[in-house]
């Protein structure tokens, strides 16, 4: 099942610079997208989300961009900090009767170098 793909397993960025994490999806029924951050031995921590009716959502240092025609979303972190080093997952949800199930990408390990 490759409905949500994160093609870069890892990314290294210098502290203070921009981190750009990418995610592609294939299911055109997805209408809600989320980014989660995960440290080892912890659960995913919600960062930011975007609905398909928008193309950008911003929260502090985090901005998510959605390009529906390309079925692509990205997470920008500016400026990057060493504490941002973690695995970042994108997830997508489609409308359903009641509760949504999320489909996750495989994750990108971000390392922010001091």
């Amino acid at each position: 099942d490759q409905q949500v793909k994160q093609n870069s397993p890892s990314l290294s960025v210098q502290e203070g610079r921009i981190s750009i994490l990418n995610c592609d999806y294939t299911n055109s029924m997805f209408d809600y997208f989320l980014w989660y951050k995960k440290y080892p031995a912890e659960g995913p921590t919600f960062l930011i989300s975007i609905s398909s009716i928008k193309d950008k959502n911003e929260d502090g240092r985090f901005t998510v961009f959605l390009n529906k025609s390309a079925k692509h979303l990205s997470l920008h972190i500016v400026p990057s900090q060493p504490g941002d080093s973690a695995v970042y997952f994108c997830a997508a949800g489609a409308p359903s009767g009641s509760a949504r199930q999320l489909t996750f990408g495989s994750g990108t390990q971000l390392t922010v170098l001091p």
Partner: protein
């Protein structure tokens, strides 16, 4: 800040034994979920629960699995007869609507 909690953090069991994983969702949330992550693989959806019944379940969630909300605060996942391939991190999540908040996970090791 409210958070999802899970117990135990680590469960070791023998193959064929029953296990119950416990979760306390965020108190005003109405939707509850279980996901699992096998080592080195993606986080996978197992089941969603709303209004005291299963809303959706994946192919993984076969007859060996069940969920229950035994009281107003707990949400449990039971595996009746564990198999080696059930070894994974199990995450509980809850949501008020679209955004799901995850617990810290239970690491299940089946020997």
């Amino acid at each position: 800040e409210p958070e999802v909690t899970q117990t135990p953090s680590h469960q070791v069991t023998q193959m064929g034994q029953e296990v119950i994983l416990r979760c306390v969702p965020i108190s005003n949330h109405l939707y509850f979920y279980w996901y699992r992550q096998i080592l080195g693989q993606k986080v996978e959806f197992l089941v969603s629960f709303y209004n005291n019944e299963i809303s959706e379940k994946s192919e993984i969630f076969d007859d060996q699995f069940s969920v229950e909300r035994p009281d107003g605060s707990n949400f449990t996942l039971k595996i009746r007869s564990t198999k080696l391939e059930d070894s994974a991190m199990y995450f509980c999540a809850s949501s008020a609507w679209d955004t799901q908040y995850f617990g810290p996970g239970t690491r299940l090791t089946v020997l």
